[in-house]
Symmetry: C2
Subunit: 285 residues, 2 copies
């Protein structure tokens, strides 16, 4: 069982004494909220519960044209990418990338891959270890790339040091534009990853949030080979409502699809996250 | 990267607009604190950060003569034992027990084991699977045993259904008294587990918190065979100060000892926890 020492025991005793003195039926002590010049110690779970992180410094902060980009240092998670106040990826989150790409279950050898977003470089870095034919990453935000290249090397290694390598290219532009070009050129690939950040990050008109997600999904299906697969992160396992809404979008695409899900506890999210694998429904014989 | 939908997007947009209207340089939204008849959604990490749990009901609540015993239900953790407002063990915490007992690294077959505390029954239940000769558990609080027997079966299985079995006995009494009897009788065992709850839970006079911990450690060392081992939980990995203080107690026992540590992420603690393995220093040749 759990044992606390020190300050907590003092406050516990104080709380007990106050209870007697004030004749209260119950009491519950909370630590003071810590506000300051960089008060981003508090982040939310997918079901909007508050969590206080052990963040001790802000390593990088810059407002890009698209979002607020921060890298903070957590004592237990290492460096952590924060985009518009949402925790995105920490140096302890390899399980996030491995579950997203279904490592060990999917063979990338010799395959063509597109990453939509993925600016932290973690997915690109891990995919390149699987000997794919070529990976094309389409990331809009140069600031994210720069922040992660410098301060999130525990995730991206050296793969953001240059935009083009033997086996990959990073196109710094709106992925909608890049996808449209692929569609126009008739270029098809084996895997597309939806590794985009928050909804408003696009230069294209997008209407409602779900319209944008459906737009991306429909375009992604168009650049997939018939047996290709679309893979993406979903939402927290404790947010079944959001997962259901996403699945309704999947069931509402121009091309009928089937999908499976997998889940993993992501250290920097402090909760279970659900990931999707989507493919085109085979035509009936 | 992470994607949020729904309510959060609304508050984000509102926050952005207020920032412009009020000419603020920054803004940060927090969810409202949820208070109610059972406001125990909030628990702390070892370094006193606040965490909000997805608790949706209180399954059991009773004030024993020693502590406040609660079992609450969490959507992601299952049932969770709370003692004096500290999260103790949930039905997703097998890793806690396995790290405490060093499963796979220590052989319990045919061994004599004593558990000090351990009222949730998880350690007893897991140890009995390892075919020990006999396990004696010394738990003070009958209310904890009753609560866990009924509502924490994901941890203790059926091993709290009766106080005595072929291979174990649960003595419902102060472990200090039971240890003194063992010492007087000259009874020695292979393993002693320090699985006690918060400090004030004892009927014996104990002075300061550290005095009590040292008292237990000294008595435990007296009932161990020369090559026996004492195993216990320490504290959060993010609380090096507390760990250091505990290690000072270890270095201050009547019998000189050596120790190793192991650590694991405990789901219901939402942090890494450190566990200790302690044994008597061999005499110089």
């Amino acid at each position: 069982m759990k044992l606390y020492w020190g300050k907590l025991l003092l406050t516990k005793n104080l709380s007990e004494e106050l209870k007697v003195v004030t004749d209260a039926t119950k009491s519950h002590k909370y630590p003071a909220f810590k506000r300051g010049p960089h008060d981003d110690r508090y982040f939310l779970t997918s079901d909007e519960r508050i969590l206080e992180y052990d963040i001790d410094s802000v390593v990088f902060e810059e407002n890009s044209p698209y979002q607020k980009v921060q890298i903070v240092h957590s004592k237990s998670l290492g460096n952590l990418l924060i985009l518009d106040e949402l925790q995105n990826l920490s140096e302890r989150d390899l399980i996030y990338t491995e579950t997203l790409m279904q490592r060990g279950k999917v063979d990338y050898k010799g395959k063509e891959v597109v990453i939509l977003g993925g600016g932290d470089g973690a997915l690109l870095y891990e995919l390149l270890k699987e000997e794919p034919a070529f990976v094309t990453m389409m990331e809009l935000d140069e600031v994210v790339l720069r922040a992660c290249r410098e301060h999130l090397r525990g995730c991206c290694g050296n793969c953001l040091d240059q935009l083009k390598g033997d086996k990959y290219e990073i196109i710094v532009d709106d992925c909608v534009k890049s996808l449209d070009k692929m569609i126009k050129d008739g270029k098809k690939v084996d895997f597309v990853f939806g590794d985009l950040t928050d909804i408003p990050v696009s230069t294209s008109p997008q209407g409602e949030a779900w319209d944008f997600i459906r737009l991306i999904l429909n375009k992604a299906m168009q650049v997939l080979k018939p047996k290709g697969m679309y893979m993406t992160h979903g939402n927290g396992a404790s947010s079944p409502q959001s997962l259901k809404m996403f699945e309704e979008q999947l069931n509402n695409l121009k091309v009928p699809v089937e999908f499976t899900t997998d889940r993993a506890f992501v250290p920097s999210f402090l909760e279970d996250w659900v990931f999707y694998q989507v493919w085109q429904k085979p035509l009936p014989n």
